[in-house]
Assembly symmetry: D2
């Protein structure tokens, strides 16, 4: 996703363990339909170490380290003055670390100043892939109508488990109603993301999220069935308007942010992973938009389906957009 | 499922329209893994007409007619004195027609007496396949703890759509979050099934069911993510006990009824359609049991996953079991 | 595929039967991941009739009619002076109709002059989707080494069957080793395509093709396992060179023709439908290239796998490229 | 498969490495639809060692060790006097080791006498899962008409790769035309199996097998597209008769051997993995029969599709049947 980025340029690839020392082409198992950019494939993967980045004159790091490696490496990098934008779960719930989606809770970014009281750099995390979709859909509802409770059931794509990920014998023609630690993440991360930033800390919202997470035989695109209880009265049209008029941080032009964050589909059989995750249209913003559909209102209870591209908005795209916000606000 | 049945024997096959006149072997598109019983395949399919059944000395009819055909044909059959056990949706919500699952609301069967005030025969319907699973799981909860609300999200198997059913281009590697009329059925049928029989009519329960129904690329077995709000306090153990100790109509020995209706699995990744629908074990009762798992309790809210074999307990098995109940109670 | 085409522009959409009279948006079941171009969706579908094209001042028709409709309609259109480029199978084997793949047997195009002795317009057909891939792979081998026999086994994608096409219950987790009439087409069409044009007629080659055709649960991309017996000695390198140096009609710049027709992959696990049909790289020529891999030579017998995007090079792209050739050679 | 076996009884489970010391229930990843027999699940898995078997008074071992472990362990067991029936590939091509399918080349069993000149026990191997199906289909053809060449293209099921086996991201909606070492095994093993036993050694047949092996998204059942060149003239009826009248070692009643080894289906769309591997009918012999269909004869070339249940006839069932033959012939 960094190829052709107007602000950022890939300089150094680093890894822990056995990938280091190889060309990226040989170290990575590339399972995207698009081919690996030639230049990236030829880059050497370095042993991860703050010196490497210093020597290359680099300040901005995107981390996709495993959680346990991130736990020790990311603080070291931040202590060396690096700005770490991480997809790892290790520090998501840390008090002084923003759990950031630039166009949802961009004001939380200032929390890095708390970190910088004790170290020159900082860590910014992006949420779990399911949560990025869910929180994006919940934000306009919370802002406009208030939320008393949330129940979400997911249909999560295979790519969310990485590679090799889910064995085919487990999932072929089957559904696995369990993803390790996933429901816990969904339940706690939403409260922090939609929480209020006091200037020094985040006061979590009490959304009372209950999550049911299942893996399905889909390549890309997490589908979610969401039921929320609204605090104030609303009509279906009010809700559609709240979704489509949600603006994010639109006054700041972030290159990766979608023009239209939430797309409301009127097709009664959509959103569907194959047709609405990415390629569907330019309006899908190359995977950075979220599609909602099948809105149904019963009193104060609202049901809808939501689709998020789990590896784009749900991971890499979110981190890049977060770094763009940091850049435009002077934190990089 | 009637092959080798101790009480019932297949005598006549009848259909409307173009199937009539052919051998069943040629009229049916057989997509079960088990081969068609030789004798059944060789049977002639007759044009449906109450005379045919009269001539054959038959009283008991299993109807799997399309809803629109059922709407006109089933009352004719009942008026001729026949006992029609139907999987069609046409009369499920009719006031004097039982919406019956023998081991859940067997007492509703007596409602046929209301029909018999005006015609010699009657119609008994079984619920929608998703609902049969859901209502089976809700019954012990309603009995023991009371239910304030129900939210269910489904992962429904392909066989639920019949044949040819869902085009492969729609569902391969995809999820379709829409099944025509399905959510409406789930929402209204539960109230009637779990309603109270006054002796003359059913007083529906007010379960406030909200349903999200989706089709997935699974052959057999509807998986459901269920969230209920209980009326009284309960522990996880209370709930497991309520599930496993639920007895149905056990004092009456119905040949098709499962020994253990609700199986609680302790495996954190189950129930799964491939492993828990049917073949899993003798305890799965050849598709007549329902498996629940992943119970999670948050205050008065209970979350669990539930799996039902949609074409066995969810359709043919339910109808047969209903007829067995009618037989043992003297209605046949 | 015509959107943005440098030479051709979509003017009129026509259909037989019940599609006529609707907007294309409503008449078509759009199952591509890309969204329907706005302007195309709003076009009215006309009742097919040569007058409509005359009135619009149109000469070039792309036909994707069902074979039985094509059999009566296409000759009428040709008799009215229209140039019909057809994907239908109706006239593929007609003596005076080119069975054309512009970059494989472009010289056959002149066969339309035989048709024009008796009518002002003409019909040009493109081969079956499997055959377009196969013939593309066989052509360099026939040219360089001669071919004594061909045995091909296919893994054919769902999109080849149109919509609704294959029922999901037939193919989910399954293989169907039968496609109606497909093996016959593969066996006879190759001989004509690779045949010699005498100036007045095609002398078919005797390739002795034997085909085994099966449907698999893949969205797009026909994979083929090919075994050929070569007439002359060759090394693996000779064969790779023959593939990669095959030039097609490269002196004529056809906008839709791939820069490199046949790509030889050295990856021992490729070509694969998901990764090599289309998106893989610009070199895949947006679905117009053919990928071969896993070459194995045993004496004069050569085995390889071949992949063709069945709806692009295998259908619409081939027709468009054929019309481009007709245009550049003055037949339009 | 040993549960309820009339001759053999499971006494000891042994493994190398980390499985040892655990209950089988915890050591095994059980992915069959049938539940694990209670008693087997509770058995302790022992560290593999010939002493364990001696102490338990056991002579017959079924080995499903990985090839590299088998290479060192199986000869030790044979040297201790044990009779090892192995599914591992390590010794399949060893000169004095039978590559045995009891009802295809039962006479090869006597080759164990060559082994017993130098050690008290012996090793008997069964072929690769694809080969067991292929050789079963080729045997009646070789016997009746002679075979000049064989070309086989496979559609191999996921269960053939064991667990975790093929990552879902590799195979979902895709075909992988490569299985490590598989084509080599198919090409060399057939010659040995169908070879002639001289009393002291096997003279391999020269079948000139060329194999194209691919993995498909199917749970169980290897489908194969086979093209053979026959040495003598035959009609389709001759060939069907050769298939259906093939008797195997029928004079010896082996409990696991199928009543009818080769079933010829007349359904033009069969055999299919879902419907013909196992459950299809009692005649499918619980996975021990092989189904062939779609016979097509062109001169001396015969094409057909063949289906074998890869984990039953293709693995465990073959080993058990081999041991049954050894028992009935006095080698155990």
């Amino acid at each position: 996703m960094l190829e052709g980025h107007p602000w950022f340029q890939l300089e150094v690839l680093a890894a822990s363990g056995k990938s280091a020392g190889n060309k990226y082409r040989d170290a990575a198992n590339w399972i995207l339909e698009e081919e690996m950019p030639e230049e990236v494939g030829n880059k050497q993967v370095e042993q991860i170490d703050s010196k490497i980045f210093e020597n290359a004159g680099i300040k901005l790091i995107f981390s996709a380290l495993p959680a346990d490696v991130a736990r020790s490496v990311e603080p070291e990098l931040a202590s060396s003055g690096l700005f770490v934008f991480s997809n790892a779960s290790a520090f998501r719930m840390a008090e002084d670390v923003p759990l950031l989606i630039a166009d949802i809770n961009g004001d939380h970014l200032a929390l890095v100043e708390q970190q910088q009281k004790s170290r020159p750099g900082y860590i910014v995390t992006n949420p779990n892939c399911s949560v990025i979709g869910l929180a994006s859909g919940l934000k306009p509802l919370a802002d406009n109508f208030g939320l008393k409770s949330v129940f979400v059931t997911t249909y999560q794509a295979l790519s969310g488990a990485g590679y090799p990920g889910v064995p085919s014998m487990d999932i072929m023609g089957n559904i696995v109603p369990y993803i390790h630690d996933e429901e816990e993440k969904v339940e706690e991360e939403c409260d922090k993301i939609l929480g209020k930033f006091t200037g020094e800390a985040i006061e979590p919202l009490q959304l009372n999220v209950i999550a049911s997470c299942a893996r399905v035989g889909v390549r890309n695109g997490h589908l979610e069935s969401v039921l929320v209880e609204l605090e104030t009265d609303a009509t279906i049209d009010d809700i559609k308007n709240a979704f489509t008029e949600y603006k994010g941080n639109k006054d700041e032009a972030l290159p990766t942010a979608p023009e239209q964050l939430i797309i409301v589909t009127e097709d009664e059989s959509r959103p569907q992973p194959v047709f609405d995750s990415y390629n569907g249209s330019p309006e899908r913003a190359r995977g950075m938009a979220v599609t909602v559909g099948r809105l149904k209102l019963r009193g104060s209870k609202l049901r809808f389906f939501l689709l998020v591209h789990n590896t784009i908005r749900g991971a890499s795209g979110c981190s890049i957009m977060n770094a763009e916000l940091a850049k435009i606000r002077g934190y990089i």
